[in-house]
């Protein structure tokens, strides 16, 4: 065990100050990453009425097969109420985990370095809306050097989809708000197609190309609405994003608005320094999209693959890219399927494997080497399915990937364990901090 841990320490040490590429393959590219065996998964979990204490909570699961607690919940930290717990992100030094709530716009900052096996609540940001000038629904928490870039989903004027990026220091101090460009205020950006909706969802960067890329979902009015009611409301269904925005990352200024119809959600950029492109999936049109640099050096977007049968509304949600840029996991929430795409040719994404994970499946995270794949179920409190009851409804499921098939490792039923509805996963490891670490903040 000591030897194993030392190897992991070395792997981490060698990359901490490198352009450290990190779920390990889905995070900020300039963050310390766990190249060996992860010890923990931190699961940001929605409180569910009638389940346990009914509060949102950070659940820590031991995932190291050498641990006596392997496959067990070893810590659960409730935050007092429900916030529409959704996404989380680690700071660049990986000492803190930011977890945001789409309804209350609260941001909970957990200390995950003092005791990686038992995170503690370090700080709660409660004035996000006021400080940001009216942004609602903090979603992605994305690490930049010494600071966090948060995407919003909505605003406090009409609770629609117009929103902004909001920047904070790692210490949790507000820095700036960067509004998404709209048709009536392009902010100097080029409207390259028919849309300039000002909506937001995810953000990723390619620093060497000075690219910051955002995607678009829908506002508070929709994501807090009952899903059936929303789908039956034609006006509500019009209020989804159809754009991605290319930003000058250094200047934090929008440069080009790309048409990507049907709500492009998660963004994953390629790892190779030779690969100047990123992927997303569109929730409503069920396609894989590529954003890439063309031969003239211009950023373009195009659909490069179909995800299931769009007529059956599989609803693509989370995606996860392999560290060698050859594979992309794509989850479809509505049918509970995970699908693996060959993206070796990024302009032609081909599905090569699929497996049903549960009644519904949302998030997917993989270890850096791609050998372990983690799934959780929950999408949004008012959209989640509630039947059939059983272990396939709200869960974390862990699989080993042997290159051909997913083999079950363990699963936890989050309703049976009285925890709630699990959403975003992030990995932790003792090796990041070292039991003998001389950490400056101690």
């Amino acid at each position: 065990m000591n030897i194993l841990r030392s190897l992991v320490v070395l792997a981490v040490t060698g990359l901490l100050s490198v352009a450290s590429y990190a779920d390990e393959t889905c995070m900020s590219p300039y963050m310390a990453k766990i190249q060996g065996q992860e010890d923990f998964v931190y699961v940001w979990t929605l409180g569910v009425p009638g389940v346990g204490d009914e509060q949102d909570k950070l659940v820590t699961v031991d995932v190291n097969p050498e641990s006596a607690n392997y496959g067990k919940v070893i810590a659960s930290l409730s935050v007092g109420g429900r916030n529409e717990a959704h996404h989380t992100g680690l700071t660049d030094d990986r000492r803190y985990l930011w977890a945001s709530g789409l309804d209350t716009s609260k941001i909970f900052i957990f200390d995950v370095h003092t005791d990686p096996a038992k995170p503690s609540l370090h700080k709660t940001i409660t004035d996000f809306v006021a400080k940001s000038g009216g942004v609602v629904g903090p979603h992605t928490n994305y690490a930049l050097p010494g600071r966090m870039m948060l995407t919003g989903l909505s605003n406090n004027r009409d609770h629609g989809g117009r929103t902004a990026l909001v920047e904070y220091t790692n210490a949790g101090e507000y820095v700036a708000t960067h509004w998404m460009p709209t048709g009536d205020n392009l902010q100097g950006a080029e409207k390259s197609g028919q849309y300039a909706d000002g909506y937001g969802y995810d953000v990723r960067v390619l620093p060497r190309k000075n690219l910051m890329l955002t995607s678009s979902f829908t506002g508070w009015n929709n994501y807090m609405m009952n899903m059936g009611a929303m789908m039956a409301d034609p006006e509500a269904m019009k209020a989804f994003g159809n754009t991605m925005v290319v930003w000058d990352m250094h200047a934090r200024q929008p440069r080009k608005i790309l048409d990507v119809p049907g709500s492009p959600l998660e963004i994953r950029c390629a790892w190779s320094p030779e690969h100047d492109y990123c992927f997303t999936s569109t929730a409503l049109t069920s396609k894989v999209w590529l954003v890439y640099l063309d031969e003239e050096g211009q950023w373009q977007a195009k659909a490069v693959g179909d995800i299931g049968d769009a007529a059956k509304i599989p609803l693509p949600v989370d995606i996860s890219i392999a560290n060698d840029d050859t594979r992309l996991w794509v989850n479809t929430w509505n049918d509970g399927m995970t699908r693996l795409f060959d993206i070796s040719d990024p302009h032609n994404a081909r599905q090569i494997y699929e497996k049903k994970i549960g009644t519904q499946v949302n998030m997917v995270s993989q270890s850096w080497d791609g050998k372990r794949v983690y799934y959780t179920s929950s999408l949004l409190a008012n959209w989640d399915k509630t039947e059939p009851a059983g272990p396939d409804l709200q869960y974390i499921k862990v699989y080993d990937w042997d290159g051909k098939a997913l083999q079950p490792a363990f699963a936890i039923d989050f309703l049976a364990e009285k925890l709630g509805a699990p959403h975003q996963m992030r990995f932790g490891a003792h090796s990041l901090y070292g039991s003998k670490a001389d950490i400056a903040s101690r």
Binding site: N2, S6, V9, V12, T13, G14, L16, S17, V18, A19, S20, P29, Y30, A32, D92, D93, R95, P145, G146, R147, E167, T169, N170, A171, E173, V175, A176, P207, R208, K209, N210, D248, H250, A251, R252, Q253, P273, Y433, G434, K436, A437, D438, I439, A440, S441
Partner: protein, 223 residues
């Protein structure tokens, strides 16, 4: 010219050696040509990211200073390093890029007297003032304002690291002894005349072109 040549040769050997030892390590963008045209100086803002904290430091002649007195109302580029850092994309990158910045500014009448470079060690055990002086000879021009600092002790150092949010972790051997290397996230800080941090660069973001551009932006927007 001889000094510059020797320093460049040393830098190349350092980079080549580290590159060879790390196998497939991809060199950080700061070692090559910038792959994009940076936004025009003054066309963007650099909002404050907090106070550049004070602390007790030693210069390369072992004189004690308050860090705030070293900042001294200048535009400052400050990088945390340790001299025996083996990671080509870590401290050597910081020193390499700061050297590039020095070369750009030394003949820039507008900026050269406005800017101070600081390399501050986070290993007081091994980086004595003498060690910093020896290290500085590889990088510092006699006609440019680049300070090489260390601290007297961990007691003096830790509040500075805490204040700047600079994570650093000593690496230990199996027998528990300090291996002489540290894992850390490379950070270089841009500090304005009012001792406010205005940008933070890590390995993927640090490049002389963008740093000089940011210095010009501060000059254009602050005075």
């Amino acid at each position: 010219m001889t000094n510059v040549g020797a320093a460049l040769l040393g830098m190349l050997l350092l980079v080549a050696g580290a590159h060879a030892s790390t196998g497939a390590t991809v060199l950080a963008p700061g070692y090559g040509q910038l792959a994009f045209t940076p936004p025009a100086a003054g066309s963007y803002s650099l909002p404050a990211l907090g106070d550049a904290v004070d602390g007790r430091v030693l210069d390369r002649d072992a004189r004690q200073w308050h860090l705030h007195d070293v900042l001294d109302g200048k535009l400052v580029l400050m990088g945390f390093i340790y001299t025996h850092c083996p990671d080509v994309n870590g401290c050597p990158l910081a020193s390499y890029v700061m050297k590039q910045v020095q070369e750009r500014l030394v003949n820039d009448a507008q900026l050269r007297d406005q800017v101070r470079l600081i390399s501050l060690s986070f290993d007081p055990d091994l980086d004595t003032p003498e060690a910093m002086k020896a290290y500085s000879r590889h990088f510092r021009r006699e006609d440019f304002d680049w300070r090489f600092l260390t601290t007297n002790s961990e007691t003096d150092l830790l509040p500075i690291l805490q204040g700047y949010g600079q994570f650093r972790q000593k690496v230990y051997d199996e027998d528990g002894s300090y291996a002489g290397s540290m894992s850390h996230l490379l950070r270089v800080y841009l500090i304005d005349r009012d001792k406010q941090i205005r940008n933070i660069y890590s390995a993927g973001f640090l490049h002389a072109d963008t740093v000089v551009n940011d210095l010009r932006t501060l000059l254009l927007t602050q005075d």
